[in-house]
Symmetry: C4
């Protein structure tokens, strides 16, 4: 299959992964309204073409949280992504490091923090969920410090997990025990390449970081149950003090969709936020990121670093998000599809595509530096 | 079939019911414009996500017409629903009672009032149509009082019955006599499970409450003819006096779409109204409930209890309707699909789904009690 | 096939007619934008439901141009419609007469004026195109007077004929001579019922009224060529004087879409106009009738009788058009489909459907007389 | 296949061309948002029908840059179009000359300038890209002067080439060398008519004008690579001086989408501009031409000749663009499809269709001369 775009990587991933993994990655919660809005609202943002401005020298680099990076792009935390390829997060972090963009490791990754740290050649970011067991959180934070993580992303939009109907249909959620497992094995059997390369050779399939607290129930059928049982719905602004006491580096709050919450985050001393609806995987029906972003950037853009994610499928979309007020973006499914399709080389290829596409978008809107991208490049 | 949502129950019902029953339940009148609007307009209502508010303690209970209930939800009156499963309304009322939400028995139910009363463990609501024969109405009202019904829902949007093209295509409407019956039998034959369980074992198939006045013509082919002949198009505000003289309990007028009519209902002394277009089954082309509701709630929300129904397919939709101004909602097709798919257990499962989905919606809009749900949780 | 609606008649017609006839009737010009808009814009007009108004006594009758009729509906002039069934216009006029609604005979009908007059039991309307040969027009007008036609509909939106791509694809237009004829015969062969009943038994297939001037070239392959050659693009307001000199009865100008033209028509002494885009068959891209109508009714509604047509597929649509300002409507494809599907009985059935549907729409908007229908029954 | 419209020509081209050529011509860049908008935004422009104005004498002719032409239409520069038929540009220029509309030869045509000049019977226009090698540009300009070209179209919206995913999928882009070539040969094999007529008999397949600088790498697999390497991203307003110094005739800047750039073009002394997004093939997500045009025409319509292209698929669309402010339009895919489908005769046929369709549009908007077409013929 010839790959020329992120949607091509999606299709290649669909062909390679067992269905339960593909649908898990591809799907959204409930009626998937927000999932669709993320993409269609971005598409509706019209760029303003300018011509005959010398664009021979385009610089895509930027700095986020004090570190220089090649593109205003980072890989988003994606739980279980490591199952998309053998020891997947280790492959992904290498691709990200090589391209000089930050990689974010999810709390619920397949590879544990130390394994990713060993694979990495540059500092990476770590994403943390609020978990009832504070001692365990403390332990994770200590590991992140130990691994030299350069930023902590604290995800706040999952006080309770949303329901993704597709996961029930594939047996990933809901059907505990043998029945679900048998159903997943059947789905893996028709993807023999993945079954051998990842399923067999990529073992063990612990959820790297949370394995200790899963206490032996390491199968992914326990994953959602564990999340329901251990995620803390009592999470609130005061909990940030606890995090702050354990983490002195840059702190990014992920999952903000409202200007008031953004202001609160600034007041609470966050260094950055991610305007995000969790890729349409939590509260279905909320605004797309593209629509939520502008008033938030307006409200707090001067006080902290506003990132955004959701629905970005090309370098053009990256430029749109920057024009709407983001200083940088996260790619979620984009890199996950690429990893599933072609492993580390896929992630590298995907990042090259994003770069090339950003170049065209900047050239034709007349921008040569990232900080020139703003609302003036959008058509009224 | 794995069921994780109301749309799944719909699909399961489609597979289990004879076509004429499924289409009867699923369809709307004329071009089905309002049927589609009910769903798409709700989908368009954007929720406003809030984070880091302690939502560990969410209370979904509420009180309607003086009675406490577990969810701000009631099962809508659905004619013939009893045919979806063996002695269907009896099964449904048990599921509703167990979940502590009101069940509403339709005038044109399959099980008669006393049968449902015998199955019920809690008071239920009774729905009444305006029928030419006032003595018969009086008799029905007496039965409702006798059965201890806790509210009377008086449906006013059917002075004449709308035409549902699907019912003609399946032979449920229009083709009287043997031809229609044969066509329906053929449709039942390819659903042997239903044919045996309900068709054979669930007899008799009288229209429980109206059987006396159908005078021996008990087949459902007489149903629509009877409705056309006996429903009273002369129904008007003064008829409420007649009802009031027979019924001392809470009176809910169902089928209001206009603020002026809502004000009239308040003036006429109704205790509640249901903003409803009969699930898109009467005048096609009228506003969706989601669009009709806000000005009505504005106009009379302080004077009487405003309920709403139409297009609700998830707990998220329930929350949307409450945010638009309803104090509670009715579920029509949702419970009918569930009953057809899995009987009483299906209805119970469906209510658990609604509850779980409401919890996520409340948690992520930062609400912990039903009365906190209002327009402030909608994105501007 | 069970028929419960106008769309059902459409499907039945599709099954019965040779393709070239069905596509001719069903299609619109160019990209068919206006054809689609006619239907979707009507669908978008939201009705305002009112309840508890006594609607036991609904009167659908009205008067147009001094004559009483059962419904505010007339059959539109439809060229070649007579080919849809054996001696089609004669069948249609009988159905219309029986239902007491006006029938309009097209200039380019299959049955000539005298044949239709012989079949009719009531006066009908005659539609006239502007033709270069004024002597021929004079002759047609004389025939109409002779036949006792009760109104003249002068169609002004065809100074040049629009192109309907479907007609080229079926060989009805463009491929003159043997090739086109052979192609049409092939299409008729797979519709043997029509081929025998209409094709063979319904002869001759002259274009009844224009046969004299076609001078022996009577095949319909000459129809479009003749129209292109003989329709008068020089037609203008002054030509009305010529018509007026030949016709003393009610004069209706058909094909008005603009308020300025409507005012002109009033000034020129027309008795009525039809707001029409020729069913999306002339200038594609013009406004739907539903959108063009309100400002026109506003401009001239007091000065002349405003009728409208285009996209009406149910009695609900009739009520919508009246609410938008029309005093009556024309049905084009609705009766043509019905005639093709079931002949005279089909047209009668279709009119009963329209009536029943209007009744429901009026009952549920709280109207009991046609003159109560106005913008107040539309949702804001 | 019967052809009655530009979309028919598209379908015929799809059947005749090897896939890589069809997709190259048909496709747009990235997610093809702008490609779709070009068509749908034009479709949304509602024409205002007027009646009873004498339109017996319609004149479609106009003058552009001092030359009289039969229609306000020109054939757009289309790279590689010459491969659609044997020595394609030579055929197209003959058709254009016969119809008396300007033909524009692309820099990256298949036939070189002298070959087209030899085929032409009238002056044609030449389109120039900014190329790093100024000596080569100078040489091309000299050839254009030599060939008597009557206008120079300087395309400015390709400082860098956009990516068209379809071209990667067909192997036209991306897969250099043998693999891509083999894949293209396979696609040609299933189109034997084209393979023989064009592929074999139409040789050589140089890129006529740029062959000299391709230095022997003449296959089209080198085309995109060459464009990436030799197009000049440093192109800016000052480069116009260089052009002006070599070209004294009418200068048209192609690829303007913004009023500010349009004003700049006027200031820089251009004679005309083309409002264009390169047919949705460069920066995806920019405004459709139909939406970009009005403010530009407003800004500079008095100062220079505003042309427009993008999405025009009928004579109705031509009239819409004129109504939006263009003095003339370019047809891109329209003529390319026609050339692929039927060669020179196809292009001639397509132009006759456009003319006939324009006539209907003008007749029914009440215009008899091109300069009467303006915003007053659009519905508000
Ligand atoms: C399969 C999957 C798993 C995810 N897991 C996490 C996670 O563990 N932690 C987190 O903060 N966000 C998670 N997200 C959300 C992403 O970080 C990001 O917000 C989202 O994917 C952005 O939308 P996009 O996929 O359209 O780019 C996940 C997203 C996906 C698709
Ligand atoms: C199959 C069916 C039968 C119904 N029968 C009745 C009825 O007998 N009485 C009544 O008041 N409403 C009746 N309704 C309307 C429902 O009470 C309710 O208003 C509607 O179903 C709500 O829309 P929903 O189905 O989208 O939830 C019926 C609805 C359906 C779908
Ligand atoms: C097949 C066909 C033929 C028609 N022929 C004529 C005609 O001869 N004269 C005329 O004034 N209008 C003619 N019309 C237009 C109709 O009178 C009417 O305006 C149109 O059909 C209304 O739209 P509707 O078909 O959506 O109801 C024709 C329409 C159709 C569909
Ligand atoms: C296959 C193809 C090749 C093109 N090549 C050129 C070119 O070489 N130079 C140029 O200025 N524009 C080029 N264009 C853009 C056209 O000149 C024109 O702007 C565009 O086709 C107009 O849109 P339309 O195809 O929808 O009519 C090309 C367009 C197509 C479709």
């Amino acid at each position: 299959m010839i790959i020329a775009s992120v949607p091509d990587f999606r299709e290649a991933a669909r062909r390679r992964l067992p269905r339960f993994l593909f649908e898990y990655m591809d799907g959204g919660s409930y009626a998937e309204v927000t999932l669709r809005r993320n993409i269609s609202d971005l598409e509706d943002i019209a760029l303003r073409q300018r011509v005959l401005r010398d664009v021979s020298d385009i610089d895509l680099s930027t700095s986020l949280f004090g570190a220089h990076q090649a593109l205003p792009v980072a890989l988003a935390p994606v739980g279980l992504a490591g199952l998309n390829a053998r020891r997947g997060e280790a492959q992904a972090v290498r691709a990200a490091n090589a391209a000089n963009v930050p990689f974010t490791l999810s709390t619920v990754s397949a590879c544990p923090l130390p394994e990713v740290a060993a694979a990495a050649t540059k500092p990476f970011w770590f994403q943390l969920y609020m978990i009832r067991d504070r001692a365990f959180m403390q332990d994770l934070l200590a590991q992140a410090v130990e691994a030299g993580c350069s930023a902590l992303m604290f995800t706040v939009d999952m006080p309770v997990p949303g329901s993704r109907y597709r996961d029930y249909h594939t047996g990933l959620a809901g059907s505990g025990g043998l029945k679900g497992a048998a159903w997943r094995v059947a789905q893996a059997m028709v993807r023999p390449e993945w079954a051998w390369d990842v399923g067999v050779m990529g073992r063990p399939h612990h959820l790297g970081n949370v394995a200790p607290v899963l206490k032996g129930n390491t199968g992914i059928e326990d994953f959602f149950a564990w999340m329901r049982g251990n995620f803390d719905p009592g999470i609130n602004w005061r909990d940030l003090d606890f995090i702050r006491s354990q983490w002195k580096g840059p702190l990014i709050i992920k999952g903000i969709l409202d200007p008031e919450d953004a202001r609160e985050a600034a007041k609470a001393g966050a260094d950055g936020i991610v305007v995000s609806n969790h890729g349409g995987r939590q509260l279905d029906g909320v605004l797309s990121s593209a629509r939520a972003l502008p008033p938030i950037a307006e409200a707090v853009g001067d006080d902290l670093t506003v990132l955004a994610d959701g629905g970005i499928r090309s370098g053009l979309d990256v430029v749109r998000m920057l024009a709407l007020g983001a200083k940088g973006v996260l790619l979620g499914r984009a890199w996950s599809y690429a990893l599933a399709a072609r492993g580390q080389a896929g992630v590298a290829h995907m990042l090259r595509l994003i770069e090339a596409e950003m170049r065209v978008a900047m050239a034709l809107t007349g921008c040569t530096r990232i900080d020139q991208i703003n609302r003036s490049i959008l058509a009224a």
